[in-house]
Symmetry: C2
Subunit: 197 residues, 2 copies
DNA sequence: TCAGGCTCATTAACACTGTTAACTGTACAC
DNA sequence: GTGTACAGTTAACAGTGTTAATGAGCCTGA
């Protein structure tokens, strides 16, 4: 056919292109609109090429999910270094959670299988999720050094409160303005942290 | 072809069959496995028949979602009649929320677009959701008669806490046993209610 | 009796989806 | 040259939501 010119792209470059294209489509049209063919077209390849980088859509989504948890974990560690007061630490981490969901909703959605995003790989198998949990538990422990059991319970409560408000705010953002939701979120998380003393 | 015998089924019967089949498939194989053709086959009709009852998959899912919210609202009103103490009322309603999500997960999933369930009709457009909200706000108001603004805020907090714990427990139910999660849920909701006094 | 219309349900098709087998072409080694 | 490995393609399969066109049966009116 044609001469098919200049396509010297590194392996890493193409891989990153696939991931960022998937996220872009998800952000603009929602996860249910993300298809292998659409990704391939965007990076100017045919569909089977995608399968040389990820063997299946599942694996691609799982990689993106992991990226999200890893990003979160990095942010948490940044806060750990920045502050020493456990109360401040936990509160700041809560705020990061909100900002993350707000600015990268497509990541948050695939992490929790929200709004049409669906990755059947169990999220609890992710090492990154495990790491995030350990980090938060560490903070809570430095707060109130109790038994492991109690710490996990408090972590679960913190996580649920944060996730619940974020998930609902995301779904209802057209009926309840986000600014208002954010204020409620900050207040609730602040109270949760105070209650720990 | 053949004589195609006995198929005298009422309109209502077929409609109910479509809905219950969709729910059954969702419960057994997850929402991402629910297809119009599969539903049609199960009720022994061809696919286009489904479109005479629901014009599109969206509409079908939205109907099921509404069914869920209506069921919840009915249960809430049952509690309203059963108890007069606002504290008891709110706590009991919290427990209903948990039992509902536990025993009819496929309904809970489609109501909040969880785990592959996806209905693009905005959930906040549902009258049934509005009704549920009003009911809970009424209970909270009988608790602490404050301004409408404050009531809505408390409602949002209660909702988020409940939904967050349920959603996480559903996702993590293979790694954290449900019994343990339920205990934490009851305890957290009890504390929330107490804090309102 | 026969034609028309109404109702119920079907078949066939379109444009998609994820996924895979088979193929083509190019570059390099011997 | 011949062979081989690599990069990327086309074509196909089975499945999806959705809709237009078609058919079969039955009741009514002439």
């Amino acid at each position: 056919m044609e001469t098919l010119e200049r396509k010297p792209r590194s392996h890493e470059h193409v891989r990153a292109g696939i991931i960022s294209t998937a996220k872009k489509i998800a952000r603009q049209e929602g996860w249910q609109a993300v298809s292998i063919r659409k990704i391939a077209e965007a990076i100017e390849y045919s569909a089977p090429v995608v399968y040389e980088y990820f063997d299946g859509k599942e694996v691609l989504l799982n990689a993106i999910r992991d990226e999200g948890f890893t990003y979160l974990n990095d942010q948490y560690h940044r806060i750990m270094k920045l502050y020493r007061d456990p109360e401040k630490r936990l509160y700041e981490i809560s705020l990061i959670q909100w900002d993350f969901a707000l600015h990268q909703p497509e990541l948050y959605q695939v992490m929790y299988n929200l709004e049409g995003a669906y990755c059947s790989v169990p999220v609890y198998q992710s090492d990154a999720l495990q790491a995030v949990g350990d980090t938060v538990c560490e903070i809570i422990f430095s707060f109130i050094p109790k038994a492991k059991e109690s710490i996990r319970r408090l972590y679960f409560e913190w996580w649920a409160l944060s996730h619940g408000m974020i998930a609902l705010a995301m779904t209802m953002q057209d009926v309840q303005l986000l600014e208002q939701s954010e204020q409620t979120y900050r207040e609730s998380m602040r109270q949760f942290v105070r209650r720990l003393r």
